[in-house]
């Protein structure tokens, strides 16, 4: 009995050791906090192996909502922050949590809606007009409601249209507090409109009765920025590796990799690092 207990104990300790081994073995790595929509688009799966091959640095992406991603940077739990909420990013740097913000790329949002199109906005090119129509008709609308970049963009657009459903909370406005995939699932199930980033929409496999209702409006463009977490606030931050990643992503090579990433033949992200920050 004792030998069996001992054997089990050794096996379990070995298991524990195996689990922890990756922590020490992969010190040539950085933690990047980014958003679920970026992760879900598959971009990282495409460009990160290239970066690893070139530099040997493992990039560990923790995908969260924008608010949480920035908070992770604030707490020092990530080395680099890579999100798409310019105003919040600039505040992040201004408050001393980040070193410098660089433009990286943009993608766009699209207004997704049910094929039945209850608010009659399909094919439009004006997002504000579409939102007003949805408000008028009281057509169901799903909001991410999670302080993400997409959510911030959605709120910004409602405000520009002079409306405030997040404040008045009418019954057709449904805040779910979850990520893009979940929002699309819910919209599909409810036959509702939803604002989505094109990337998640293209790779979303559950489209069913949903389709693009409005696209192409300038107001729907979504700018991404990358920031190194401030090593003065958090001395443990891997600033060399982190800066290497930033330098690569805004370099010609990184920018080309971003542009080359396609889903179903369509480019999702448009690199614009050169155009200042």
């Amino acid at each position: 009995m004792r030998t069996r207990l001992l054997a089990f104990a050794i096996a379990a300790l070995a298991a524990a050791a195996l689990t922890t081994a990756p922590v020490t073995a992969q010190e040539k790595s950085i933690v990047v906090s980014s958003t679920t929509s970026t992760q879900d688009s598959g971009l990282f799966g495409y460009i990160l192996p290239m970066f690893k091959e070139k530099t040997g640095i493992d990039v560990k992406v923790v995908a969260q909502g924008t608010g949480q991603a920035l908070d992770t940077g604030r707490r020092g739990d990530a080395d680099v922050v890579f999100v798409h909420a310019k105003a919040q990013e600039e505040k992040f740097v201004a408050e001393g949590h980040g070193v410098k913000r660089y433009d990286v790329m943009y993608n766009d949002f699209v207004l997704i809606g049910p094929k039945s199109d209850p608010a009659k906005v399909k094919g439009g090119k004006d997002i504000l007009a579409a939102l007003k129509a949805i408000h008028e008709a009281g057509a169901p609308f799903v909001s991410r409601g999670d302080k993400s970049g997409t959510h911030s963009a959605e709120l910004r657009l409602w405000k520009e249209a002079g409306l405030d459903p997040a404040g008045s909370k009418p019954s057709w406005y449904r805040e779910i507090g979850q990520g893009m995939g979940a929002a699309l699932n819910t919209a599909s199930a409810m036959g509702a409109y939803v604002l989505a980033d094109r990337g998640t929409w293209i790779s979303f496999k559950n489209k069913e009765q949903l389709e693009i209702a409005v696209e192409g409006d300038q107001r729907l463009f979504n700018q991404y920025g990358i920031i190194l977490v401030n090593p003065e606030k958090h001395p443990h931050v891997k600033k060399e590796y982190g800066q290497q990643f930033i330098d690569w992503i805004i370099s010609d090579e990184g920018q080309k990799a971003i542009a080359d990433y396609k889903i179903e033949g369509q480019q999702l992200f448009f690199p614009n690092a050169k155009s200042g920050s």
């Binding site: 379990a12 689990t19 922890t20 922590v23 933690v31 923790v62 020092g76 995939g181 790779s203």
Partner: protein, 229 residues
């Protein structure tokens, strides 16, 4: 349609799927081991010693069995974050953090249930062991060994609870691809992406695992009844 692609993933030994399963087992087995290391002696001590506040401790232990996994995740996150007390260890978003969170989650289960089992057994054994002048340490060893089948069932219960939870490992692990992604967090992620085959495949593996664990628990009980009375 999705289900058949899910089966395909399992039967062809899809590398991603099995890496995820392997990590899940490592994390949960380690957590069960450490929870047993802490929980069994703790249960024995509370069962066998009289100290002020004993009843309060028992109530607290029983209550902690119902700790919501997300709450445990949040607490461990606050502990391990760089801005937290254990920040310098740099454990957040690693498998170690996941082991810690699951250990915290199931230790109360193991402690509370083993306390009950050991206390009941002690009620039975007390007079005999006292008459045989068995010392306190020897008593603990005797009770732990004689209760072994019930204790194994308790460990299986703890394992099952940890294997099925998603809240704690999601928060402290960060669901990082190829690093801290386990069955439950992957199911959540892939479902939200509408990528159902992988989610269903993992769901099937997880369900099978839970069923196997429960069957083992039942088997242990039957064996013990047949062989040790």
């Amino acid at each position: 349609m999705d289900t058949s692609s899910a089966l395909e993933l399992i039967l062809t030994g899809d590398a991603t799927l099995f890496a995820i399963v392997r990590l899940s087992l490592l994390v949960t087995l380690s957590a069960t081991f450490f929870a047993a290391l802490v929980g069994l002696p703790l249960g024995a001590i509370v069962a066998l010693t009289n100290f002020p506040g004993r009843h309060a401790i028992i109530v607290v232990l029983n209550g902690l069995m119902g700790l919501p996994p997300v709450v445990v995740g949040l607490l461990v996150f606050l502990l391990l974050s760089r801005s937290g007390p254990l920040g310098p260890l740099g454990l957040l978003f690693t498998p170690t953090a996941m082991v810690i969170a699951q250990t915290v989650l199931i230790t109360p289960i193991i402690a509370a249930l083993s306390r009950q089992v050991i206390e009941d057994l002690w009620t039975e054994y007390r007079e005999e062991l006292t008459a045989m002048e068995v010392g306190p340490l020897a008593r603990v060893k005797t009770l732990l060994w004689d209760a072994r089948f019930s204790l194994v069932t308790i460990l299986l219960a703890g394992f099952g609870r940890a294997a099925a939870e998603v809240g704690a490992v999601m928060i402290v692990g960060g669901n990082i691809e190829s690093f801290t992604r386990v069955m439950t967090t992957t199911i959540a992620l892939e479902t939200s992406k509408g990528n159902l085959p992988l989610a269903i495949g993992l769901g099937m593996v997880l369900m099978t695992l839970i069923l196997v664990v429960n069957a083992l628990a039942w088997g242990v009980r039957r064996w013990s009844e047949a062989h040790a009375g």
